[in-house]
């Protein structure tokens, strides 16, 4: 016990902030980062959500250039190829590398079963062309063009996902359908976002009887089964409306019942925030309620709202798909994934031609991607995570 009594003294000069800097373990960049950057960094750690973001960016980019991506036009009919199964893409012919190509298809009508039977004719080879000219189209209805990313070989066909009952290419129809299905959700959520902010904001800011009415309305709307109501409302859309009007009518109907969750979130946040000093200060300076709500209060939790609307989009997409599937939503010639799936309602047809169920895949993928993205965003905007 020789050491007893000795007292260790460090010679190094005392630095009062060194401990703090070392203890926090946070880099300079982190400490100086803006709120947006912090959210972005946290979001990137969420690998699945990050991947989902790219899936969605890719999908939304694709609907901008649908005409170019689709090998055929939406309504191009190939009457010789009705209910043709997906064509196989081959790379080798007789051991020889040719590059991606498809064989020619021979179709015969079996007079006994009245079914069309297709067989590959391996003597005819149609190499797939890229950046080529095919069906002419009007890009966004603005200018004429006929450029496509992929086209069938000269004189051949290219139905990668088969054809439907009128001999239209499923892949092209699926791509065009995305244009409607993916935007219905966005516009619907935009509208319900507006309604939710307005009603939730008014209820939360003023409280009292206004709050009471909005609260009861939310409770009643939330306790109703939405799908039957949506069905009734879409069935009430006039039959004579143009497809575009029906499309907007549908988005409005989806928004009419979809705002409640958001309004509830906005209300509860505003109830707490309106007691804050900065809000009282704004009131004392004579700002009007509309200005206080939109300039001083809402920006406080905008990122949360964005995360929650991301989670609201897939339910809108599903609602449109369900309604169109039942034949109550959009109707041909407008083509959405739900309209395409309506063909699959007939189970006998599905059993014979299973590829008409394919529009299911983009629906499920999009909905999953939005769910992942929303989850990731929600975690990212939460500063406590």
């Amino acid at each position: 016990m020789a050491e007893t009594g000795t007292h260790y003294v460090c010679d190094a000069p005392f630095d009062p902030v060194a401990d703090e800097a070392a203890g926090s373990g946070l880099s300079d960049a982190y400490l100086k980062a803006s709120q947006g950057q912090l959210i972005w960094w946290r979001f990137k750690r969420h690998k699945v959500a990050y991947a989902a973001l790219f899936v969605l960016l890719f999908s939304y980019f694709s609907i901008i250039v649908t005409e170019f991506l689709a090998p055929y036009n939406l309504h191009t009919r190939h009457t010789d190829y009705i209910f043709l199964p997906p064509q196989q893409v081959h790379l080798f012919h007789d051991g020889l590398f040719i590059g991606p190509f498809v064989y020619g298809i021979d179709g015969v009508l079996n007079l006994d079963t009245l079914e069309r039977e297709y067989s590959e004719d391996t003597t005819r080879i149609y190499p797939i062309r890229v950046f080529c000219s095919g069906d002419p189209y009007k890009f966004w209805g603005l200018f004429d063009a006929d450029n496509h990313l992929i086209c069938p070989g000269e004189g051949g066909t290219l139905f990668l996902l088969g054809t439907d009952k009128l001999g239209r290419d499923m892949l092209s129809r699926l791509l065009y359908g995305g244009r409607i299905s993916l935007t219905v959700g966005l516009i619907g959520v935009g509208l319900s976002f507006f309604l939710g902010l307005l009603l939730g904001g008014v209820a939360g800011y003023f409280g009292g009887w206004v709050d009471n009415i909005v609260q009861r309305a939310i409770e009643i709307l939330q306790s109703l089964p939405h799908l039957p109501l949506w069905m009734a409302l879409t069935a009430a859309l006039p039959v004579l409306w143009s497809p575009l009007l029906v499309y907007f009518g549908l988005t409005i109907i989806l928004a009419l019942l979809g705002w409640t969750g958001l309004a509830r979130a906005v209300r509860s946040k505003l109830l707490a925030l309106r007691e804050e000093d900065f809000c009282v200060a704004a009131q004392l300076m004579g700002a009007k309620p509309a200005r206080i709500i939109s300039w001083h209060l809402l920006p406080n939790f905008m990122s949360h709202l964005i995360a929650s609307i991301t989670l609201a989009i897939p339910s809108m997409i599903l609602a449109e798909t369900a309604l169109s599937f039942l034949g109550l939503g959009l109707r041909p010639p407008i083509t959405s994934w739900g309209v395409l799936l309506a063909e699959a309602q007939n189970i006998e047809a599905v059993a014979l031609y299973p590829w008409i169920m394919l529009p299911m895949l983009p629906v499920v993928i999009t909905v999953l991607a939005f769910n992942f993205l929303g989850d990731g965003l929600r975690d990212a905007v939460d500063p406590h995570s």
């Binding site: 009861r216 409770e219 009643i220 939330q222 306790s223 109703l224 089964p225 939405h226 799908l227 039957p228 109501l229 069905m231 009734a232 409302l233 069935a235 009430a236 006039p238 897939p314 599903l318 798909t321 369900a322 599937f325 039942l326 034949g327 109550l328 799936l341 699959a344 309602q345 189970i347 599905v350 059993a351 299973p354 169920m357 299911m360 629906v363 499920v364 909905v367 999953l368 769910n371």
Partner: protein, 331 residues
Amino acid sequence: MIHYLVNRLVTMAVTLAVISVLVFTIIQLPPGDYLTTYIAELEAQGESVADDKIKFLREQYGLDKSLVEQYFVWATGLLHGDLGYSFEYEKPVAEVVGDRMFLSILLNAATIMFVYIVAFPIGVYTAVNQYSTGDYFLSFIGLLGLATPNFLLALILLYFANVWFGTSIGGLMDPEFIDQPWSFAKALSVLEHLWVPVFVIGTAGTAGMIRRLRANLLDELQKQYVVTGRAKGLSEGKLLRKYPLRMALNPFVADIGSLLPEVVSGSVIVSAVMSLPTTGPMLLSSLQSQDMFLAGSFLMFLALLTVVGMLISDILLGVLDPRIRLTGGKR
């Protein structure tokens, strides 16, 4: 408790009144009234319409009166159990419906039970074994269940049943029992067919329920009293059963508020796809033919089903939790 009950009943009555106004507005939305649609349809088929029939129907439903009066005629009719007249079937709605409403209630109740019975053990398992392989696996299945719309799931099941077994799994009973009076054999047949639609409708709800129960239970498991209990030497099973599970159970039961509308919605579309003899397909066809009286009755029935279901669950919650019954149900 009585105060709470009265409170809830009054709320329910008001809710139903508001809903009936909503439904009536929806019925009135299509241009023209039921009769003009009906007459136009008959004339399109080249038939003439008897004048006294039109007059009878007009008087019966007071279609010559103002909208407000019409609403009261319709609403009081509903209160007396008079569901209106279906033009599509040319019969009073009550006769058209038959046992569809009963089968709807059966289907929805069975689905709710399915959701609770399946979600409870899985939710507890995934929370207790967080980040285990089983947790990841079940969570992934749950996510798929959430993302796959139930009518697509129904289609897939119908397709595989057709391809693998060559049978149709649609319907809710064997064909020989359709339109037959109820018997033991019929009830048995219904039970045999019930599980497919119950599974299809319940999947999404179950997935959501598992997620929420898992999150609630995880929150509870992190609390101090769990550590205390463990330090005292309680066995893991007893520790779980005695405290955190009971705390997490409350929101689990209260969740019926979001579960029930979802299940009723799902049952409508799945019934249409699988052609079940419930109210769903008939609601769809009545909407397509704009037989609005029939559609209105069904809408009202579905809303009633949800509201009454919630009332029952709220009463149960009140029994379970004194905090709820003492504050008059303000959650």
